[in-house]
């Protein structure tokens, strides 16, 4: 302070003895000095003094000195020191924070900085003045100008953004500073840009156009990616600003191959696992995950989301994310956010969903990652936010994917043979009937998501049977849910079950029938609907019960005798009354948590008590409740025409329409039946195949055993009775084999002999023929001689010739 006093003395001259000037007076004299001094040094000293006083006497300096200081910025631009003092003074005056010096002073209003800012920026030229000073290369001037702009933006963000936007090169100038090789300036500029880009799409686009992403990735990589300091976080925050709700920039980010450049950020080196995560690293990774989620947020257009999802997978980012998921030592909040992120990266993208479905956790025995995640979801001891994240991730995994929906239901069907493996279906069933109310809710909602827009699985799930008690006959899942709904006293479980049942029975006559057949289900619903408790949550329960009842009427195929469409309607009219019924229905959408849930696919509950309604249920409710919903499903107004057969044809297309609808419904049912049959056949086929394989393998196993035993037998002959027995059999077998061999041998030799004999026989025959021919020749000759002899007059006996002739024939 001594220095300050002496400084003041030199500027103001020696004070009059006995008179202590007040702060205001001193400021006044200093301002005068800045205004009137011809010497640059004097003006500079006065500025320095004003700066020194501006913290304690902010109001005075601001009120009297503002115009003068602006003048200095214009006229004394050549002297960087003076400029620097002026900028600092202005920054103090308009600082958004409270100084230590003024904490004691009640005279200073809280928002004094903001008031002065408002005055200062009223004249846009003042802002231009500061922007021009960004061109100064002097370190202090540049830094002070950046800081002053940051203060102005903090106080009046919207106004400042509009002013800077219309200043040509305004944004560009700031962007240039990001390349300043003096780190202090670069870092301050980052803070400035974060403020500047917040919530202003036009500025965000210009900043992106000015190569912001390139600059930021350069900085992030030079600072060591996620292991870097707070600068990395600042860079990521700025990126987040540029991308949030800005589809043009997201498009640019994707087209500019920046997604690929994010990969090294998620590569966490192994060695860090032991060291744990520093708080800064946690923040950095949080920001990175946020950026990924911004790209694939369900709020973006489908085109953008699917493109980004594809690139994220191809670039290996999904892989990296899954690695984080399965790594050890990851802080819980990072894990939670990673689960959410993985969810949104796969949501509605079949390829990515399949990829995640195939990820195996490094557990013993190895289990699918999805199963491990679900184990956390139904585990009371896991943090609440983590469990919510798993639910969301699982919902995303099922979203628009009939395969993964079918796979889940499949694990519950009796045909799946491996009992030893824990499956997702079993986990969910366990959760559904556990004593932990959150597990009930999560499991019911997860199961419900397997049924969305999937009539086949609704039918399939009807086949699921549960063995409740040993000895008693198995109960269907649907009945068990209905039973639980009536037994439980917990609100969340009730709501969850009602949502599940609504989703299940909607557009599925089979499920409606199943539900109506469940003992006392309808009576319970009617009672609930009639209930007169006055409480938001009670209203909700009444509304949901009415909703389920309405579904049971609407999608009823009259197959349950007591509860046909008509009789159910009569029941409602008689017991509840049409007016009341409609009123109760509308209660659902009035509930605070309904409206909260309807906004976003992700459950955004801060506390377990806020877990009540699911987004997809809201969608179902909206579609069915809509006055002219698909096919004019339910109609409000005159008597609520949801009883279609009542012939009040005005609202409805008449009997013909009814007929067609019935026909379509029939065909639909038939189709579903056939599909189910096909499914069954396929399963049977599969089972048979498995059985065949089994028997084959067991066969070969037995063979192996046999050889083994043989070897053992020959090695240790007669050591035990069994071995003895075996050896006996063995001997017998050997004997028999030998016998067979011998017989074979004999057969062979016999055959050979036979062949030989045949050959001989042939030869003999031939010989005989030859001989016969010879004989006949001889005969001829004899005849010849005979005839000669006869001609010569000799007497010859004929007997001989005749015998010869008969022999020849």
């Amino acid at each position: 302070m001594d220095f300050l006093k002496s400084g003041l003395k030199t500027v103001l001259g020696a004070p009059e003895p006995g008179h202590h000037p007040s702060g205001a007076e001193t400021v006044e004299r200093l301002v005068e000095r800045v205004n009137n001094s011809t010497l640059l040094e004097d003006r500079r000293d006065a500025c320095r003094a004003l700066k020194a006083m501006s913290r304690t006497y902010r109001v005075e300096v601001g009120a009297q000195g503002m115009d003068t200081l602006k003048q200095v910025l214009e006229l004394d631009r050549a002297d960087s020191e003076t400029i620097n003092h002026a900028l600092n003074t202005l920054n103090n005056v308009m600082s958004p924070s409270q100084f230590e010096e003024e904490e004691e002073n009640p005279q200073v209003p809280m928002n004094i900085g903001e008031q002065f800012t408002e005055m200062f920026i009223k004249d846009h030229n003042n802002v231009q003045l500061i922007l021009d000073l960004l061109d100064e290369y002097d370190f202090r001037v540049r830094l002070s100008a950046v800081q002053l702009l940051t203060s102005l933006l903090t106080n009046r963000p919207k106004d400042m953004q509009e002013i800077i936007l219309v200043k040509p090169m305004g944004v560009s100038k700031m962007m240039d500073l990001l390349s300043d090789n003096r780190e202090v300036i670069r870092n301050e500029t980052l803070l400035l840009l974060i403020k500047l880009t917040k919530g202003n799409a036009n500025i965000q686009k210009i900043v992106a156009f000015e190569n912001a992403f390139d600059r930021l990735f350069e900085i992030v990589s030079s600072e060591g990616f996620s292991d870097g300091g707070i600068i990395v976080e600042d860079c990521l925050l700025l990126m987040l600003n540029l991308l949030k709700n800005n589809s043009s920039n997201i498009n640019f980010f994707k087209e500019g191959s920046y997604i690929q450049r994010m990969l090294p950020m998620f590569n966490t080196p192994e060695e860090n696992e032991d060291a744990g995560w520093s708080p800064q690293k946690v923040s950095n990774v949080h920001c990175m995950l946020h950026i990924v989620r911004t790209l694939v947020s369900p709020c973006n257009s489908v085109q953008i989301v699917s493109d980004c999802q594809r690139i994220l997978k191809n670039a290996g980012l999904l892989d990296s994310l899954c690695n984080i998921l399965m790594a050890s030592g990851v802080p819980a909040d990072i894990l939670t956010e990673t689960i959410n992120t993985v969810g949104e990266v796969v949501r509605g993208n079949v390829g990515n969903q399949e990829f995640v479905g195939n990820v195996m956790a490094p557990s013993n025995p190895p289990r699918p990652a999805i199963v491990v995640l679900l184990m956390s979801m139904v585990n009371e001891k896991q943090p609440f936010s983590l469990r919510c994240a798993v639910l969301y991730c699982f919902q995303c995994y099922l979203y628009h994917n009939e395969m993964s929906q079918a796979n889940l239901v499949q694990t519950l069907l009796p045909s799946s043979t491996d009992v030893s493996n824990l499956t997702s279906g079993q986990l969910l069933c366990g959760g559904l009937f556990s004593s932990d109310v959150l597990s009930n809710w999560f499991s019911a909602v997860a199961l419900m998501h397997a049924l969305i827009d999937n009539p086949i699985q609704k039918e399939q799930l009807l086949r699921v049977l549960l063995a409740t008690n040993i000895g008693s006959s198995p109960v269907s899942l649907l009945h068990q849910c209905t039973l639980l709904l009536q037994q439980t006293t917990k609100l969340q479980s009730k709501v969850a079950l009602l949502m599940l049942l609504s989703q299940w029975t909607a557009r599925c006559a089979g499920a409606v029938t199943g539900f109506l057949r469940a003992p006392s289900a309808v009576a319970y619903l009617v009672n609930q609907t009639c209930s007169n408790d006055h409480d938001d949550n009670e209203y909700l329960l009444q509304g949901l019960s009415a909703f389920l009842l309405a579904i049971c009427i609407h999608f009823n195929d009259d197959s349950v005798e007591n509860y046909s469409r008509e009789s159910l309607k009569q029941l409602v009219v008689r017991r509840v009354g049409m007016e009341t019924f409609v009123a109760k229905l509308s209660e659902v959408s009035r509930h605070e948590l309904y409206n909260k849930a309807a906004k976003h696919p992700q459950l955004r509950a801060k506390a377990p008590a806020e877990v009540l309604i699911d987004y997809e249920f809201c969608r179902l409710f909206k579609v069915l409740e809509k006055p002219d919903g698909e096919g004019g499903e339910w109609r409000r107004g005159s008597g609520w025409g949801w009883g279609r057969g009542d012939g009040c044809g005005a609202g409805w297309g008449g009997a013909a329409l009814e007929q067609y609808k019935a026909l379509i419904r029939q065909q639909d049912a038939r189709l579903q039946e056939l599909v189910a049959q096909l499914d069954d056949m396929l399963q049977q086929n599969h089972a048979l195949q498995v059985a065949l394989n089994d028997s084959k393998s067991s066969n070969s196993l037995l063979k192996d055993e046999n050889t083994l035993l043989k070897a053992q037998v020959s090695a240790a002959h007669g050591h035990s009775i069994e071995a003895h027995d075996k050896s006996q059999y063995e001997a017998k077998i050997n004997q028999l084999t030998a016998e067979i061999n011998r017989l074979n041998e004999i057969l062979k030799t016999t055959q050979e002999e036979k062949q030989k004999q045949e050959v001989e026989l042939e030869k003999l025959k031939n010989d005989q023929d030859d001989l016969l021919i010879l004989l006949s020749d001889l005969d001829l000759k004899v005849n010849d001689y005979k005839s000669r002899l006869v001609s010569l007059g000799e007497k010859v006996e004929d007997d001989n010739t005749e015998v010869q002739e008969s022999n020849l024939t």
Partner: protein
């Protein structure tokens, strides 16, 4: 797919002359007769080939309305090429060219290639500006000229590609400082990027480019 160069373009001109439609025709190969007014600036991208080299075009389509003029000015500096568009069926859009050109020259870097485009050449019956007039204006101000139709796609490819050729030639002549990214030109990642990363990038660009590459 890796690219050799990346060029940044802007499209400027009066409101309703068909700037957004030109971009849509170039990137998506389709025409949308009713187009929302562009607010501020919109982004589009496509890959082209010049001289056997892959060149990525990043195109910023600006709003023509006067209210957005100050915003669009921020885009001049960082662009390597500009498509200055007028509507051949509206004389006033042609008359405003001088203002646009002054604006562009004032805020852009001096090497920016400007292509003058008379759009809606399919509406011959309603023509108000002769082709010769456009040619004369271009000659006078040293611009390249072309008449296009975003509706029939006539000359649209050529307009974007010829501009790129012009820039490419300037690079070959050494006029552009390609190391200064403020000029709107970037050298491609070439061999430095990993195969996987560049492959995915190419896939993204291919989708947006409507299968041009």
């Amino acid at each position: 797919m890796a690219y050799a160069y990346l060029f940044k373009y802007i499209i400027i001109g009066d409101t309703g002359v068909g700037k957004s439609c030109l971009l849509l025709q170039f990137t998506d190969k389709r025409f949308q007769p009713v187009h929302d007014l562009t607010i501020g600036v919109e982004f589009g991208a496509r890959m082209i080939t010049i001289d056997g080299k892959q060149i990525k075009l990043q195109i910023w389509d600006t709003a023509g309305q006067e209210a957005f003029r100050s915003i669009t000015r921020s885009y001049y500096r960082g662009a390597a090429g500009a498509l200055l568009v007028y509507d051949i069926t509206r004389r006033d859009t042609f008359n405003h060219l001088t203002t646009w050109l002054e604006d562009a020259r004032q805020h852009s870097n001096s090497n920016m290639v400007i292509m003058l485009i008379g759009n809606k050449s399919d509406l011959e019956s309603r023509r108000e500006v002769k082709k010769e007039e456009g040619e004369a204006f271009a000659r006078e101000h040293g611009l390249v000229f072309m008449e296009t139709s975003a509706k029939t796609a006539a000359n649209v490819e050529e307009a974007f590609i010829n501009t790129a050729k012009e820039i490419y030639e300037k690079i070959q002549e050494g006029v552009f400082d390609i190391n200064n990214e403020a000029n709107g030109i970037k050298i491609g990642p070439q061999h430095s990027t990993g195969g996987g990363a560049s492959g995915a990038g190419g896939a993204g660009a291919g989708a947006a480019g409507g299968g041009c590459c």
